[in-house]
Amino acid sequence: MSTYRYSEQYRPPEARQVTDVAIERFADIFEVDPKLMTAHVVQQVFPNWDTLRIVASRHDHLDWMHRHWAEKVVSGQRLLDELDD
């Protein structure tokens, strides 16, 4: 069982600069570089769990959309590999 600690939730991992305009704190979750959000729109502070929840929910939604439109998804990589065989 994991223990919830308030202070940990508001201490995100160190940011890695990915491009001139984006940073990454969690794997494959990108954020606008905070220095670009100082004049007109200020970045909101999220607890870590909420950032991860939002991303997971987005993936759930996209999975739902696939199921909504078709019974299965064909892998493009598989077809590409077959071309090379």
Binding site: T19, V21, A22, W69, G76
Partner: protein, 505 residues
Amino acid sequence: MTIAPALTEPVLDDLRQVVGGEHVLTDRAARFNRARVPAPFPVHRWSERVPDLVVLPGSTEEVSEVVRIANAHRIPIVPRDGGTGLTDGAVPLRHGIVVDVKRMNDIKEIDEVNRTCTVGTGINMLKLNEVLGRYGLIYPDDPASYPCSLVGGRIGTSGWSLIGSRYGHSRDLVLSFDFVLPTGRVIHVGDGAGRKLSKSSSGYQLKHLFMGHQGTLGIATEATLKLYPKPEAELSPFFAFPDYDSAYRAVGELARAGIATFAGAVLFDEWKVDYLRRDDEAYIPQPADVRALVCAVAYGYEDEVVAGGRRLMRIARDNGGRYLGDEVSEGDWAARHDRYATPLHGRTLAGQVIPMSWHCEDAAINYTNLPQVRLEWHEIVRRLRERFDMFDDWGMFAYTSADTGVDYLTEIDVGIWEQRLDDESWAAWVQAKKDIAEVALRYGGSISACHGSCREGEVDLVPQELGGGYDVMLDVKRALDPNNIMNPGKYGLDRAYEPEAGGAR
């Protein structure tokens, strides 16, 4: 409450008698929420577009009675479905009564044998397909507003579908519908008089006339739709290219390949890639040599999709495309069914993030003219952005409309800092819209493949585009709507009522 002089208490009483008191809404929230569509506009002018009241009828008969009352008292009527259209069709330019059809959302029949369903036009396609899925069926009309637009709006705008290259667009998928004319008379429109016919050669073909009129000719209330088996399989590969020209060649070959399960191909240009690279998690980590993107989509039985898919993959690869992988491809495609949920922000010239709304200018352009139209459109937006640091070029895409690659829904997305729009910047934007439409016409295209052309700016060029056909539009409008009550102020149709209006005679 300030309402039109014609909307006196006896008239309100008549409307309440027809639809029930609880379905006549006069409060500010009900009226202000039905004053606009998602396309940005100068919000300081919001009050110019607020209807006097909203009615929510529950049947064709009730719609007919409401329209009869409005026509008798010369009160403007504005039909409203999802309100997701981008060319102001659902915006009340002359106040009056908004007829909101959302209560008419029943599924009246699912005919599994003839592969049709009959629905109230207030139903949303996503909700309809949730039910149809239980029968192994689908209604494949798929706009970017799929989760929130309604069947009736798709009729009123003659909508364009993301997978129209496989299944057709709204005009092909809607077989017939009941339609309330501006006098209140109800007619049934389809191929011939049938409800479930896909082809008739009897009489004038009126179905197209009563689709895409942006609410100026009446209100569709009940529709019979064509159904397909729910696809067994989906394929949606995305490819990266080092330059626009090779991506352009690839999308052309994909579209011309004649693959039966081909549902669409999309070309994203350099400006679109730059936009995605700053805000889209799929593209932020892409290497700098990615300068253009192409996507191809296929639906059908798995064995068909696999066979056609191999051909699509080979075409893209032979044209220099680098497959972006299953995760990016599948995720990006799934997100395209739901673009209205995208949180929007743009950048000032200095790079600071600003809240922005999405204005997309679209046209129907032949494949051979895509490269030049692209350059001229971006130049128009660049000049605008130079003058006003509240517009942002979010790039362009070109999307096959048909299964042969003849023409493309061509779109430039422009972010607009809506809250900062004043009269001067709005006028400049309207001029830019006109310039964009003019380019489309100069290259033999149509002002719109998808959104319609009745918003400020492009609407001025509709007579030029249609020529004598526009005079026929004026004649039709005057004949069917003698008192100009049905969505007045749209498409320049007020001129049908000017004394010197000559029409097509």
